[in-house]
């Protein structure tokens, strides 16, 4: 998606350690007009019936809410918890954290993720794929169908995209990064 790529090229900053800072418009300060354009693009890419959008806190929530209007469906965000043992009314999945280290648990209430649901997963970043795999795990436990996964930015040189696509899930990234470095900036696929 041209608009997102241009924004990343203009305002994104690349730091050592494979860090792309886009916190001026995507995941700390957020640009609702850009989110609307992104949501419309996901709607175009996923014309299928979608009954629920599933994301994970925190940075995916804004994107998911704006997309929820385009898809005309409720939005569910999985909560993060450091607690591993949680009572029986929720589905849980472990997620390894690249950013913060260690493993955390994501969870959602069973009553909001149903076997009849047709779920679109949404998130801001796809790198190693752990968050999306955790969301897929929640959907599998619920017996919900997964329509696909939309992400804002995919680091295409990392294994996450392959790992998620290997599960038979269609992934649509609005900006795919082929390579990046502090010196040369971002190159898109």
């Amino acid at each position: 998606m041209k608009e997102l790529e241009e924004r990343i090229a203009r305002e994104g900053r690349v730091f050592a350690g494979d860090v792309l800072k886009v916190d001026g418009f995507l995941n700390h300060q957020m640009d609702p007009a850009l989110f609307r354009a992104m949501a419309r693009e996901w709607r175009r890419l996923f014309p299928e019936e979608v009954t629920k959008i599933l994301t994970v806190e925190a940075s995916g929530i804004g994107l998911a809410c704006v997309a929820g209007e385009e898809f005309g469906c409720p939005v569910l965000f999985a909560k993060k918890s450091r607690t591993r043992n949680i009572a029986g009314s929720v589905y849980t999945a472990p997620v390894e954290s690249y950013t913060h280290g260690g493993v955390y648990t994501i969870l959602c209430a069973k009553e909001y993720l149903l076997p009849t649901d047709k779920v679109l997963l949404l998130d801001d970043f796809l790198a190693n794929g752990n968050a999306l795999l955790g969301l897929l795990d929640l959907c599998a436990q619920a017996g919900a169908a997964v329509v696909g996964a939309g992400v804002a930015v995919e680091k295409a040189y990392q294994p996450g995209g392959e790992r998620v696509r290997a599960r038979g899930v269609r992934v649509e990234a609005l900006a795919r990064i082929a390579a990046m470095s502090p010196d040369e900036g971002v190159r898109f696929c």
Copy 2:
């Protein structure tokens, strides 16, 4: 706001310990159409110029993003951290947690909260007021003006509303709860 009150009356569940569960449409599963109506109501209540919406992760983010479109401004969410000492490029404020116990730190990058900003604070719940007071603290550090605070649900029998209003901040709650109990449900002001 009639629509929100009716939704709470119909779908909200009151549990012992002063807990109102509205996670079917407000803070776990979210209804984007309801969020749009709420955002329009806040826009009507705050016709002043607003250059930034400030909320705190996680449940405020969806509301804030939809409202950002109505106000035509960027949205900034303060991040929660258990780390007390954080480097100098961020404003930080301590917030006492009623739900989880203990104190956590909220923070936002200095570059996104400016002395020229006219800030509308938004959050899903107002009870003891600690989260809003933390956001006010961030704005004070930045020298930003605060236009007011919009909340979805105010527990009017708790001290938060008074504490925030005592700072000279106009608070607009879309549903104000006068009393609630598991047996008798919710009574609005």
